[in-house]
Symmetry: C2
Subunit: 603 residues, 2 copies
Amino acid sequence: MPAPVIRESEVDVLIIGAGPAGLMAANALARAGTNVRIIDKRPAMVAAGQADGISPRTIESYGIGERLLREACQVHMAAFYNPNMTGGIERTGRAPDVTAPTARYPFEVALHQGGIEAIFLDSMHLLGTDVERPVIPTSIELSTDEAELTDSAAHPIRVTLRHLDPLDGKAETEIVCAKFVLGADGAHSWVRKMFDITMDGEQTEFIWGVLDMIPETNFPDIRNKSLVHSNNGSCLVVPREKDKIRIYMQLSDKDVLDPSTGRVDKDRMGPEQLLQVAQKSLHPYKLAPVDEIDWWTLYIIGQRVASRFSVKERVFIAGDACHTHSPKAGQGMNASMNDAHNLVWKLTQVLRGWADMSLLKTYESERRKYAQDLIAFDKDFSTLFSGKPQTHENEDGVTHEEFLRAFQTYGGFTSGIGVHYSNSAIVNNAHQSYASNLIIGERVPPRVFVRAADAWPYELQDLLPSDSRFKVIVFTGNYNDTAQRGNVDALAKELEKPERFLKVYVPGGKESMFDIITISQGKKEEVDYLEFPDVLRPHWSKVLIDDTDVTGNIGGQGYSYYGVGPEGALVVVRPDGYVGMVAPLQKVNDIDTYFASFLRPSL
Amino acid sequence: MPAPVIRESEVDVLIIGAGPAGLMAANALARAGTNVRIIDKRPAMVAAGQADGISPRTIESYGIGERLLREACQVHMAAFYNPNMTGGIERTGRAPDVTAPTARYPFEVALHQGGIEAIFLDSMHLLGTDVERPVIPTSIELSTDEAELTDSAAHPIRVTLRHLDPLDGKAETEIVCAKFVLGADGAHSWVRKMFDITMDGEQTEFIWGVLDMIPETNFPDIRNKSLVHSNNGSCLVVPREKDKIRIYMQLSDKDVLDPSTGRVDKDRMGPEQLLQVAQKSLHPYKLAPVDEIDWWTLYIIGQRVASRFSVKERVFIAGDACHTHSPKAGQGMNASMNDAHNLVWKLTQVLRGWADMSLLKTYESERRKYAQDLIAFDKDFSTLFSGKPQTHENEDGVTHEEFLRAFQTYGGFTSGIGVHYSNSAIVNNAHQSYASNLIIGERVPPRVFVRAADAWPYELQDLLPSDSRFKVIVFTGNYNDTAQRGNVDALAKELEKPERFLKVYVPGGKESMFDIITISQGKKEEVDYLEFPDVLRPHWSKVLIDDTDVTGNIGGQGYSYYGVGPEGALVVVRPDGYVGMVAPLQKVNDIDTYFASFLRPSL
Ligand SMILES: Cc1cc2nc3c(=O)[nH]c(=O)nc-3n(C[C@H](O)[C@H](O)[C@H](O)COP(=O)(O)OP(=O)(O)OC[C@H]3O[C@@H](n4cnc5c(N)ncnc54)[C@H](O)[C@@H]3O)c2cc1C
Ligand SMILES: Cc1cc2nc3c(=O)[nH]c(=O)nc-3n(C[C@H](O)[C@H](O)[C@H](O)COP(=O)(O)OP(=O)(O)OC[C@H]3O[C@@H](n4cnc5c(N)ncnc54)[C@H](O)[C@@H]3O)c2cc1C
């Protein structure tokens, strides 16, 4: 039989790997109407187990919160156990699981990785995008032609794909020419290896044992996240959806490895042995699965960060492909999805011809710094966690107070709320004082405002969706104050000028590329939305007031919460919900300059 | 051709009419696993228009809230307009649209009737129940055999159905023998007529004009509910989903009727004329549809209540079939769905063999009283609304203050929150003082408690779903207090005795027919759910504590809010969320007596 003709096609973005990072990216790109394909070598999605922790910031963003809140288990409380005098453990105390005062959802949620992936898969499917599987790439070539590399319309990457289970009559091999490739192919990333990207960090690997089950137990904190320090080995209990729980145990090489080969020996450490390890750690409490063990794994991981996250801003890696660390702080899935979240709006803006290719450089600068912080945190926290607890015999051990303090200090980090991007083309620190609590480089904290037209209370975060558009929030001050009204009217006039960003980039319609949101001081009984200048209310729903709802129970005090004074402020919010810049109402030209540094004027 | 053989079949419940009342019933019965069929004479569901207002209580109950909150428009604010000196109108003030301090959702929502019906249709469809249409009943016969009528397993009703559009080869006519029939067939109910049920009340009919559109306007309260009193005719503006609005106008006979025939003449009053009526009323504000009129109707209705709501507790009528009134207070759909909600749990309990047929008598006693109150309210409110406003020329007119006071006084009624069922087999007023704010005969007001096992804050109403089961809330007081623990342990012992309701009616399993919810005083950092007696925690999720969540922002003070003291209380909540009775912990026998009056001991 003659070899079938090899099909060759073009695509804007090819994603390799359909874990949390790849799926997050594929779904967001599909929603943005981008031409995207995603492949995975596994014949089917993850059915159970793997990562399961979702942090508060991840619930806030990306529009997946609604379904997460319906399906996942919420973790509000942490419990701390330490050795007691009789060789077992006892509770030292309970504390909030999340320490992040501005979190909209002040808790973590837990759901098995397949449940999380399904949220993306279902959403993509409705848009006609599905994962192609089982498919692997067998070669990848990036053009070296500078002209091609800098032309955002070119397809400088050539990838050969092999369909491992091709449909009858379909070719096994195809060639895809892509504008961009995302390697979201996990800790052993093929893409990373093809471009010789090294992983920096210690080479030590840690071995984790993980058990998922419905427990029969008299352990009183089985539905809380329990951090158990025990002289019989530490463990971490995480409650899960339905009646399930998960237990993490850090194992030592000798328990797991076959000394003759140095490889994991599943006869030494299978589910029964793992259960025994957990039982020892929880003594004197009883623990046994109601039925059988739901899922288990031995999970071997180092603490490392890739030296580069991109090759010429054409090939990117994200997720476990560029950083690996212990599962303890529950960051695996979150960091991976956040990488993708950071990248996709930039790709979308470039693909639409809105932004310059240079915007893509900020992906590596923002996310690699974050990954390094993550590893540093993971090391500190792991040491505390694995360290011997303080006891009579071991006076130098870790005290409960030390541990609790670390747990809470790191709250901003583990919750994802504290992520801070440094100065760059898209993070401009100039006028912070005009909105002193809308920290430039951090996400906009949640706050309720009421709509002027109908007094409907809205969470501002819900008006800042990840839809690839920049939002410009105009804090007008009190528009019913005559002097301030003059300032606002002057601003409106400025915004309408042809040289201003609203006109330079979107001559067609002001709603396409930027979203204007107006927030006025005033009372819902008095403000009339129709009085605001046209440019500040592209739609009646866009004017908010800093007042309570009709019951007086929610909303209000937003100006002072955000640190905005009666003189008002302009706040640019990036498509991913981070504050990009702040300016006084009189400095529209500073905003012009900000956008000019990475947007392309429309022709 | 020979007439096809007529098929004869049996069904538990046959519902005639698939408007809000019929669909609410069909969906609830299908969810309860009941054998139900529903027919409608219309070939397709309502596409636009008709009723659109959903009151706060309706959002709270039935599990439809989530989708309503996603799809519908929220109405928070009401605006009041009155004549000004120059022949037009001006705003007198704004006020909350809903005056019902305990409402969980302190607003109304608006969505066209088809959108509401779709919620039920989609839910039923997943359970395999769809509306059969176009189908009409052509005869109905109720057995007169007393033995058959009192045997809940008998099928004493014989209905002939005609399929107006039969499938090829299928018979046009069939005979259905039903245990129960529900006539939810609207204001001109065929079922009502077949059983000669009269409609009591004045025979006058009122004519309403209704317009739905996306408006182009400078009326500043177009997104609020605006009650416009004008010398050029009163009207009511209701904001709707997307950018739509609705305007209601009460019309006079001479505008609408052809004097020679006395019938509605659509040439006199079509959409253009209705628009002119609205424009006159809103003068000096401008109003025009952006595109075309979305929907319009002339809606003719009297204020009447059916003399009976049931025939021998075998045939029932619900919704517009038993009460009609003006659309102004937005009660049409709400009252109809609430009728069905009241009936279906009773039918389900009888069909399952749990309750005696006598339980069904409470449908008429509860809902007919409500309907009479509704008509009385509608008359008062209509008079105020249609009355001339007070002006210089008309000093006896209705003042804004009078009108606002009425609007707020009736808030409990229009919100649905104030519905109160009187003493009956299922409403027992005996021990009100043990939970003085859980008013016996009213719905349980919302309140957040935290789960003992995991500190997850839960809205109590969400733990009282409409699932056909009675809930018994055990307020234990502080279980860590030694004396009180004695009382609670004694109660637990009582509850386990074979003569107690938990054992008499459900020897099989305590979770099947009653749901026990335990609410303790105490602190989430200290309470261990495992300490509570087994009977008070059929599942770990069933123990709550009256404390705030970990942030201190939600929950707490529930005992005092509900008027429960440290001595605790037993509260029986009906399957529809209404308080059925209250008792001190020591009076389990009073609860036995309550259930004994309408439940059937299991064999
Ligand atoms: C067995 C296992 C157990 C784990 N257990 C835990 C845990 O208990 N707790 C925790 O927090 N984290 C755990 N993790 C880590 C967690 O799953 C990751 O941090 C998270 O999923 C990272 O997401 P990602 O999308 O970057 O990578 P992954 O989820 O690893 O997804 C990578 C995807 O790429 C695909 N792929 C890889 N190579 C190729 C290729 N050449 N061609 C095509 N497709 C390819 C893979 O099939 C996979 O679907 C576990 C991971 C594994 C593999
Ligand atoms: C044209 C119209 C306009 C309306 N406009 C408004 C409004 O603007 N605002 C407002 O608040 N309310 C309005 N209403 C009233 C509102 O629709 C009702 O109060 C509400 O729908 C009551 O619900 P229901 O289920 O009791 O009755 P309906 O919604 O009337 O449902 C009755 C159902 O029974 C079916 N049916 C009737 N007879 C038979 C039969 N013999 N065999 C089979 N099926 C049958 C009908 O096709 C219908 O689907 C309007 C009603 C109508 C008919």
